[in-house]
Symmetry: none
Subunit: 203 residues, 4 copies
Amino acid sequence: MANPDRSIDPRIMESAKEEFLSKSYEQVSLRDICSKAGVTTGALYNRFSNKEELFEALVAPTLALIEKFSEQTESNSYSFLDTNELLTIWELTPDTQASIINMLYDNYDGFRLLLCHADGSRHANFLHDFVDDVTDRSYRFVEEAYSRGVCKYLIDKEELHMLLTAYWSTMFEPLIHGLSREKALEHSGIVAKLFNWTNVLGF
Amino acid sequence: MANPDRSIDPRIMESAKEEFLSKSYEQVSLRDICSKAGVTTGALYNRFSNKEELFEALVAPTLALIEKFSEQTESNSYSFLDTNELLTIWELTPDTQASIINMLYDNYDGFRLLLCHADGSRHANFLHDFVDDVTDRSYRFVEEAYSRGVCKYLIDKEELHMLLTAYWSTMFEPLIHGLSREKALEHSGIVAKLFNWTNVLGF
Amino acid sequence: MANPDRSIDPRIMESAKEEFLSKSYEQVSLRDICSKAGVTTGALYNRFSNKEELFEALVAPTLALIEKFSEQTESNSYSFLDTNELLTIWELTPDTQASIINMLYDNYDGFRLLLCHADGSRHANFLHDFVDDVTDRSYRFVEEAYSRGVCKYLIDKEELHMLLTAYWSTMFEPLIHGLSREKALEHSGIVAKLFNWTNVLGF
Amino acid sequence: MANPDRSIDPRIMESAKEEFLSKSYEQVSLRDICSKAGVTTGALYNRFSNKEELFEALVAPTLALIEKFSEQTESNSYSFLDTNELLTIWELTPDTQASIINMLYDNYDGFRLLLCHADGSRHANFLHDFVDDVTDRSYRFVEEAYSRGVCKYLIDKEELHMLLTAYWSTMFEPLIHGLSREKALEHSGIVAKLFNWTNVLGF
DNA sequence: GATGAATGAGCCTTCATTCAT
DNA sequence: TATGAATGAAGGCTCATTCAT
């Protein structure tokens, strides 16, 4: 039985990360991970019940960060709603953009795992799942804004989903494509110019 | 020796498509494809040299279509450039958008294969490869437009790449997400509103 | 049902020879032979019942030649016995040696097939089978010679077998090793010096 | 990853030896070996990376023995050269012959594997490779003897190779043919009578 | 807690051979 | 007579996972 609570052998995690980053989830062999880490498969199975759980452990910090980021963004939105500073959050200021890029690059490996190497794992559709979640939160917010008369009309939820997909695909793109953080920051600016949130949402 | 020129047993192709559409490339078993098709694996290997080639045959028509579409779009652009009707092509009119969506949905399975189930195959990075190609073509065009003084400045190629990634990710999104053609058409309109090409490109 | 009596498509034979000469019997694929010959497997199976029979057809002329050679040598021996010219045949004169080497090199491919590429086929132990046959014939002859008082003692049959193995291994060696006919002829001379038949046989 | 260093399951080795001795390398199935040994193929692959390596392990002791024998024989030759007892080593005394036969029969299975069942493996040409090595060593020795004036002329290396092929083919013959050790010893004597080394080499 | 040999099912691929056309 | 698609069995090999030690 796996015991994920104990501190995990860093050699395993290091080796696992390297392997998962270098090929697709299915192509990764637990044997290879273990021999590279200098441990036996039994040792690995003492900590993780299976391949999936190992991968999970690798992306868990990133997932937690995402959750925290989403919650913070959401609560920020409501504060801005209260203070009528709506535009600040939806305008995609350079600072907002930069903070997102930095969050991504601060967790470079984790995001690459989720975006490029999760096929076959539970997170195969990470981007869509993430956008689904973002959409839910945003829609609740937009409904609230609409009910308060802050936006002129209520966007369709599916449309919102697609727009957010566009936005996040674009934001993730530099990381997926292997651009440097500097390039990514530079380009996040142009994204802001591209996306007319206020226009589309009818603020 | 595989002989891909002959007409291919439709049961194999049908079964292969079903399997590849239902799981990731690597998870698909040739045994399963064959037994579902009611033939032996040997029969499959009469037509295809290996798994990759079978997958290739499945997506070949879609790939050909994409090539044709790209060439046509490119040549259209230049015609518009000659007649100074530049905006027509870059403005993402409802008609343009609809014709793209229709092309996608006319090849629903092929695009789903390429976008969602190609991991592990040669087309693992289909979207990025496609956007790379589109970017090359577009950039050549933009250079020409710039040299003729039609745009005020020349966009950076990497920026263009990212913008096109955003655009195409968004266009593919309904198909990936399983929306109906009607919904997709509907939503392609809002995409047009979102993307300020003329603004960004400096036309 | 195979019909070996008809004239055989020379492309098949040519291609088969090439393949069998280039790898071991088991590694040769009938598919490869056929595709190289530009015919279908069915065509091959019209002429030969199976792989073994095809190989057989390839070495048949060589086998026939060997049989003829053996018979001739045997009958020559008896003539010499009658005329008391025994030494002539057992002395391994340069001419005798040369005629053997020439017979071998006149059927270069056939002998290489039998000596080096027959593993897995009926002729896997060609050399031993050949020497067995030669031994039988020689022993009968030696018995006759002994009964006539031409040799002082009767060699043990197993010893004779081993001596003939030594002799023929040595004679085949240049062909197996890929030496030119010229080199082989040259070396066949020294073999004659090496083998003390008369000494061993007690003539 | 195979770990050939550990002690190897004797059932696998036993079964493998039986299989390899009973058919040609290519005809042997790892499945058969394993099922006969009462283990799964996976168990085999824990110890050996592939079929070749398993075969290798089976013949390794014999190969090592051969190496030791060759080195010893070589160094003995040079000692005899120093003491001018040259004839002792090249005369093929009954003792020398017997010690070779005993070495062969002490490793009966290993030599049979190498001589009769290695086709398709790395040792397909064991006899020729062995004789190549022996020839190299012998030639170096003969050169030294010649330079000291111990032999009257220097034999051609290719001739030496052929003579050694003849000698060793003859020595291996009883083993290949399945003769008993006693018969083999008996016959090794006659071989000594047959080969005129001193005559040929010009000592 | 770690070992690592063993499992057992599965993988892609190849083959000699057959047979309806 | 030739075709060539299909068979059916087998091949070597890999894998995540288990468990006695």
